[in-house]
């Protein structure tokens, strides 16, 4: 066998999608055979070299990245909207519009937690409450400027009606992996629903 089986428990192997230019659009194609999951939704932003989901090959998750010279807003994602989609080599994964910048990327629906503003992507508060940047007094902050965070990462606590809620990063229109530019509210500040919590940029 040419390639040793990669143990996904120890490190996450990466694959880069194949790129084809179709007029002004960029078409990302599968570089291997596998089950594709975590596909970005239509309207979301894919940054050059950014994650476009994962490819599960014989049970091992491979992070799937866009090529370094391809980014844009997802125009279309063909195929059924399944949690995992079987793709073969060279199958079309995504169609990107490279002209649409991050400013137009937001598709936050009513009450959505994320929306693009002029100047970048933001992560918004899902609830109103008191904002805590650290899990307990004297401990490290959950995130600080410069950190790279993934979907699902706890970024803050929100005290709502005497209950502490963990706020997990993620949401429509946000890259699955992002660098924190700024943590907007001060520690223990009161925030409203939809207030900006983090300014982020895709990595």
């Amino acid at each position: 066998m040419k390639r040793a089986q990669v143990d996904g428990r120890l490190f996450t192997p990466e694959l880069v999608a194949r790129l084809e230019r179709d007029g002004t659009a960029l078409v990302l194609r599968s570089p291997a055979v596998g089950l594709w999951r975590g596909a970005p939704a239509a309207g979301s932003m894919v940054s050059p070299g950014g994650l476009v989901g994962e490819l599960e090959i014989l049970g091992v998750l491979h992070r799937l990245r866009a090529p370094d010279d391809a980014g844009g807003v997802v125009l279309e994602r063909p195929g059924p909207a399944a949690a995992r989609r079987a793709v073969a080599y060279d199958d079309e994964l995504l169609r990107l519009d490279p002209e649409a910048g991050p400013a137009r990327a937001g598709v936050g629906e009513g009450g959505g937690v994320a929306q693009a503003e002029a100047g970048g992507l933001v992560f918004r508060s899902p609830l109103s409450g008191r904002f805590y940047v650290r899990p307990a007094p004297g401990q490290e902050a959950f995130v600080k400027a410069g950190d790279v965070i993934e979907v699902g990462r706890t970024v803050a606590l929100l005290e709502v009606m005497k209950t502490f809620n963990r706020v997990a990063y993620g949401g429509e229109g946000l890259p699955s992996s992002a660098r924190v530019l700024e943590v907007v509210p001060a520690d223990e500040a009161d925030v409203d629903e939809d207030d900006v919590l983090l300014r982020v940029e895709p990595v």
Partner: protein, 473 residues
Amino acid sequence: MAALATFHRLFIANRGEVAVRIAKACDALGITPVFGVSEADAGAAYLDGRETVRLGPGRAAGSYLDAVRVVQAARQSGCTALHPGWGFLAENPTFAALCESHGVTFVGPPAHVMHLMGKKTPAKQAMRAAGLQLIPGSDGVLADVEQARAVADEIGYPVLIKAESGGGGRGMRIARGSGEVAEAFADAQAEARAAFGDPRVYMERLVEGGRHVEIQVMADRYGQAVHLGERDCTVQRNHQKLIEESPSPVLPEAVRAQSLAAAVEATCRIGYVGAGTMEFLLDGDGVLRFMEMNTRLQVEHCVSEMRSGVDLVREQLRVAAGHPLSLRQEQLELRGHAIECRINAEDPSQGFRPAPGTITRWQSPDGAADATGSTVRVDTHVSSGYRIPPHYDSLICKVIAHGPSRDAAADRMLVALSELVCEGVPTTVPMHRAILASEAFRHNRYDTRAIPGWPGSPGSPSRPGSPAGDRPA
């Protein structure tokens, strides 16, 4: 037969002629075949109306040879079994184990048996224990040059030093006297290390100009095995078989019976499952000596099918699904004589230069019986307009003639070859016609070193010192 429980969907991890052959057996058993295809093969006419999964680019390393891709493709296309065909991953025990560990039944022997037969020394020991004759040589791998010289002096020159993990003619050196042993030993070791990552070598007496005879066996999971007679594949060029026939026209009857029985015995002993072939060298003394076992279906399996009436691929699929053999040895009747010609897209007048390109017009020969009752079978994946990709081997078609006698089969083959039309690319058909019409072929005056009836082509005839004990692909 159609109601037999086997598999619903089977993945074909191969291409071209063998992929078509496997699909035919799947169709007969009511199995849906799914073809793994490379970018170069996608869209070929032989895949029309078939389910396919694109594996990777045209180069085989990224598609047909990429074990992880192949198994994942089988899994996500819902296949519970996989047929590897021949070549590519067919004799890779790691691949067989990978299939099994992901719940895909590998149509072939268990991985440990494949591993055993892939290493030369354990394979020979197993065969000796089963009563087969071996080529005299070292008892296992050679420790150093001194031992090599001692063994060579004992078995007699010339000797052949071969790689333990070798194949395809690499890692082999000849020594014709004790003065050449040291150099041959060092060269063979270096080449074996470079080619196979295993510098171990062993020694055999070089048998020059023998005949290549092989025995087809078939075993189930319950310790039953049968043979389907022998095949003579002496007509070769650079260890590439060109013509195969059954029965061997030169094998003494007593040796045949004894060797066939020993081959079945050996098959049972090593716990073999499925179709396999034991390759032998028939030396000048009429002794059949074991060389190695191929743990897969072979290109020339059709020769044995024509004589026995057994569909070997169908039998493979049945056995893989856990059924016992459908036939016992005493029910098998081997009839008449069968000859197979491999038609390659090569130019025999240009030193057999491979010739990829587009076949502008293709017409297969007619298979109807002639006055002697001789018939023709054609196995191919090509048709008019087919583009032969440059990435793979040059086999485009096999023509198999079956008749009551060797001459009748050869005559029928000549008619079939005259009917075969292939325009756009040169083929080896003219060479086959010359061979079959030659006195040397008809009267068995040839061995593995030269092509009978085809002298003068550059690089083809006798290469003195060409090791006859090597395995053609």
